[in-house]
Amino acid sequence: MEQENIIQVNELTKKFGDFVAVKGISFEVKKGEIFGFLGANGAGKTTAMKMLIGISKPTSGMAIVAGLNVAQSANEVKKNIGYMSQKFSLYDDLTIKENIRFFGGIYGLKPKTIQEKTIDLIQRLELEKVADERVGQLPLGWKQKLAFSVALLHEPKIVFLDEPTGGVDPVTRRQFWEMIDEEAHNGTTIFVTTHYMDEAEYCNRVSIMVDGKIEALDTPKKLKEQFKVSSMNDVFLKLARNIE
């Protein structure tokens, strides 16, 4: 049975003056899929992602996210998605509990729901002892796991993760991916970027962006067959080498 598309992108383009950052990309993401969005630095990933989450207007083309057109219903899109990035996810000066309450409020959850979710989330991540400490004090790995859970507070249909594991220690990185797997099994769609090529193997499908265009898109297995190499790292090197 064909699964429904939760993201549909058609000829999506973004120009900054003369510079075309995203050059008419088209792809679909299915509901419940873990979709890896890879590319070299400067390939246009972040620009493309910003359009999908409704914070940057496409120059041309169309993107439908959770049934909504990002160009016309940016604010509605935001209610249906979760987002976390390596650079910004939580407020360092607020405690763990305060961050949860803050983001719960932003996402429009009722105070009672926020309260319940706070207890549940702190228990699940085993953060009882540090719940009243500032987030800035936490090791990066804990912070990222917390940020992921916070991005899921409002039970979004899709969660966008921009390099969620950059610099995180190897054990925590794997725990993080176990959380992603579990969430995908619950039906949440995961849209993720990473520079760790072993993580690309955990995705159902992977796209690789080079110089503003999607140059390859398939399951990791098929991509390796297509490029006749044994790892996603080699697929990436073959596609993106010498481009900058």
Binding site: G141, R174, L237
Partner: protein, 299 residues
């Protein structure tokens, strides 16, 4: 010895960032400091580059004491901090000129040292640093750290957040610098990069728990590692975790690395157990450890 670190400790309020850290780096050696975010790597770099004073212990860089002779150290080391350190509003060329002038030299004087790297960014020499892509920023930062021909180069996570292509290129550049007899201390959270160093130190929670060559570290790793694959990896991971006396189950891309505590545990036992769980296309191989395996299974 190019770098000597003896029992260095440093704490900030409630956090003990470094605890009795000791190691030595030989002249011309490429030495890797391997550990996750928060392990204490940056604190150590800041002490060795004389930007921070240690509470206890001693350290010498190029023969100079980090506490007493900081001016001499600053003249003969290059430092590339983890965060992008260049002037965003200056162009590529202006940044380089600025750093050269600061150290009382010129781009021309040491051009040979940076040539291989600089030619790659030279086409963009009039572009402001803030408009460069990640890979190009790293290259410029490296040029700026090299322009005064330092004896010792400190690179704090130069490849974090950098794509695999640029990472590979960056390490090729380091290999060439090593041939010029520059001592390099580099930190990274990427375990695959560890194997490219002459020697590495594992650091976690402010302590160094192993120092050796990558080859020796892998050779000395005792436990047997089974690489396991099947069609349902999600189920496979949870099945493996249920096996009695499991030490670790770590995903490694398309396979899982499995280690059991008991020495009498065999491939046959693993095979039998997983066959009962009806896994399709099950594949089990006994494999050699990687640096990442060693790091994650350290107690």
């Amino acid at each position: 010895m190019s770098i000597v670190v003896q029992n260095i400790s440093k704490s900030f309020k409630t956090v003990q960032a470094l605890q009795e850290v000791s190691f030595e780096v030989k002249e011309g050696e490429l030495f890797g400091l391997i550990g996750p975010d928060g392990a204490g790597k940056t604190t150590l770099f800041r002490i060795l580059t004389t930007l921070l004073l240690p509470q206890n212990g001693q350290a010498f860089v190029a023969g100079f004491d980090v506490k007493e002779e900081y001016k001499s150290i600053r003249n003969c080391v290059g430092y590339m901090p983890g965060r992008f350190s260049l002037y965003q509003d200056l162009t590529v060329e202006e940044n380089l000129t600025f750093f050269a002038t600061t150290f009382g030299t010129t781009i021309e004087e040491n051009y040979d040292l940076i040539k291989d790297i600089y030619v790659q960014i030279e086409p963009f020499k009039n572009r402001r640093a803030k408009d460069l892509s990640g890979g190009m920023k790293q290259k410029l930062a490296l040029c700026c750290a090299l322009i005064h021909a330092p004896k010792v180069l400190f690179l704090d996570e130069p490849t974090t957040g950098v794509d695999p292509v640029s990472r590979k290129e960056f390490w090729e550049m380091l290999k060439r610098l090593k041939q010029q007899n520059i001592t390099i201390l580099v930190s990274t959270p990427y375990m695959d990069e560890a194997s490219l160093c002459d020697r590495i130190a594992f650091i976690q929670n402010g302590k160094i728990f192993k120092i050796d060559s990558p080859q020796n570290i892998i050779r000395d790793f005792q436990p047997k590692i089974y690489e396991v694959k099947s069609d349902d990896m999600y189920q496979l991971l949870s099945d493996l975790k249920q096996i009695p006396d499991t030490k670790s189950t770590f995903s490694f891309g398309e396979s899982i690395h499995y280690i059991n505590e008991k020495t009498e545990f065999t491939k046959e036992k693993l095979q039998t157990y997983l066959n009962e769980k009806a896994h399709k296309n099950l594949d089990i191989q006994l494999i050699q450890a990687t640096i990442e395996d060693v790091f994650m299974n350290a107690d």
